[in-house]
């Protein structure tokens, strides 16, 4: 059994071993091993030239990573916390995302940006945000997130192998979740949605930190005689919605669960697409459960902000009431 954080570390180590062009860079990633220890022991193994402790400037991390990528390297950048990515926003959205297109395909930017995201760890301001939508909304980026150690291990390697920039969201409150990791072969590609468990009455879609919540919800529903199909999106851009449509057509009821604010969140996009593709199969409107449209609250109020088991069950009740 391996923690999700350790699984990412193993994925990084394997990528660093297999390709000498892979670099890890960010604030405190070297000697300290990262504030969450995700890059622990990498610098002692691969050296300071490949595991780069950077000055404390996020735009600098991304901007120099772009330059390194232009020189043929494959940098994996760490943004220490979700709320600290904004100083690098121009470099990610205007530079990194667009450079392949504006070079008419001649420049490849294989840069991975790791962002520990989401709440639930009692943190101070700027340390608990779910800001994936900004990046999913930006053409030229790929955006993924893992929910369990096995995916963390494989998706990190797949992201590094991609010739496109990948924003890799790591569910920080699940860093310590443990599960088996199969080091032989990945079970899915980077951009594939997984059906976590099958069901026939309602489809519950989630990703990242709330997948575990969704599994717990399904267990409660099962005791109440409701069969819930749980889906883990894994890829936020591009979305892989074919299995979602199939599931919606089967169950006729869909609830989407994520930590990010619901307004213009990924749930809104998914609900819209399900409506377009599965209109005649739906028995209820697609419902969303997510964060409120407020700044992330102080830690002592975060249990109210975070969509939990009860709020999800409430939404499921409403879906069945139609």
């Amino acid at each position: 059994m391996i923690t999700l954080g350790k699984a990412i570390n193993m994925g990084l180590r394997r990528a660093l071993t297999e390709d000498p062009k892979v670099l890890v860079m960010g604030e405190d990633v070297g000697k300290l091993g990262g504030v969450f220890r995700v890059t622990e022991n990498l610098q002692s193994e691969f050296g300071e030239d490949r595991i780069i402790d950077t000055p404390l400037a996020e735009s600098g991390i991304l901007g120099t990573a772009i330059g390194l990528a232009l020189r043929g390297y494959r940098p994996v950048c760490e943004i220490q916390f979700d709320g600290f990515v904004y100083p690098a926003f121009d470099q990610i959205t205007s530079q990194l995302a667009k450079m392949h297109a504006r070079s008419l395909g001649t420049l490849k930017l294989p840069v991975v940006v790791r962002i520990p995201y989401g709440g639930g760890i009692g943190a101070v301001e700027h340390h608990s945000e779910s800001n994936e939508t900004y990046f999913a909304h930006t053409a030229g980026l790929r955006v993924v997130t893992c929910s369990n150690p096995n995916d963390a291990y494989w998706m990190m390697q797949q992201a590094i192998q991609s010739d496109d920039p990948v924003i890799f969201f790591e569910p920080k409150r699940r860093y310590w979740d443990k599960a088996e990791v199969n080091e032989e072969a990945p079970s899915l590609g980077l951009h594939e949605t997984r059906t976590v468990q099958e069901g026939s009455d309602l489809t519950l879609i989630s990703y990242g930190p709330t997948v575990r919540t969704a599994i717990e919800v399904a267990a409660v529903c099962s005791k109440e005689g409701r069969s819930v199909e749980v889906m883990d999106l894994r890829t936020l851009s591009p979305l892989d919605l074919a299995p979602v449509f199939e599931s919606a057509q089967k169950t006729g009821r869909v609830v989407i669960l994520h930590e990010a604010p619901t307004f213009l969140g990924l749930g809104a996009e998914i609900a819209s697409q399900i409506t377009e593709e599965c209109f005649y199969s739906l028995d209820a409107p697609v419902l969303r459960v997510g964060g409120f449209n407020v700044p992330y609250p102080p830690a002592r109020l975060e249990e109210h902000y975070l969509p939990d088991l009860d709020r999800t069950l409430d939404a499921i009740d409403r879906a069945f009431a139609f």
Binding site: G60, L68, M99, H100, A101, R102
Partner: protein
Amino acid sequence: MSELQLVQILSPEGELLTDPEYPLDISTEEIRALYRDLVMVRRFDVEATALQRQGELGLWAQSLGQEAAQVGSGRALIPGDYAFPTYREHGVAWAKGVPPEKLLGMYRGINHGGWNPHDNDFHLYTLVIGAQTLHATGYAMGIQRDKSNNAVIAYFGDGATSQGDVNEAFTYASVYHAPVVFFCQNNQWAISQPIESQTKVALYKRAAGFGFPGVRVDGNDVLAVLAVTRAALARARAGEGPTLIEAFTYRMGAHTTSDDPSRYRLAQELDEWKLKDPIARVKSYLTRSSLANEEFFAGIEKEAEAMASKLRSDIVDAEDPYVEAIFDHVYAEPHPILDAEKSAYINYLESFTEGEKK
């Protein structure tokens, strides 16, 4: 600002000076070649400006007056040295061998940068002010890791020195001793804002706070720019880290063809700078030293006219991009959603053609 340093090798009157710190070993043939560069670059810029005025370009950012800063620094580079330009480095592009007509693509609205940067080690133009200085620094960090003997040059303007990215680039380059030369063309104006609104100290002095040398050079003196840039590149190659060069010059034209400098600066200022013209002083030197005759100058004028004429026909005849180009190259790897969007739009367009056939 008289107490400030200003490296000069060729005075505005065309008098050859010596600077003990920057000895320049240069042949007459090389000076004649630099003169040709300057004339060609100015003629190119004049033609592009005319093309904009005639509606063939949507916009043009003139390099008028900055030819010496660009040609001198561009000619200091050796093959494999990588340049990261702003959107005005037409003279550097010329020195790097980028086909001139390629520089006009983005200004005509054909593309966002129509050359392969790796062909000439000349990156695409960057419009977000200062962003490219970090790319240059990162590229230099890559050169370090490759243990290559090349260096990088990052271009930016006086306005860019106020940007966070430029200051972060200084920091990164300094702490890593990255082989990068920061080449700031201080052309005195950031659109309507004079240099005094960006800084209270001479820009080259900023380098001291970051822990590397800064030098101010007469940006209208192609020989001084060449010497100073060569020295900075040599320092970078020797593993001694970055240098900030402030090329003191003047934007003789508008910020772009959409700008009207008469609203914010005096014509008298331009007249004063005309006396320091970067091309006139080289011609004056070559003439008074009998190193070139009328035939030489006429030959270059003729060559410049031919280049301008070809530029005009190249750009007027340039094909508009195909519709699919909107979708192509957004991603390096397959992207099913974009593919679907593209084919849906192509089908939509074709539905009109089919209607016409009926």
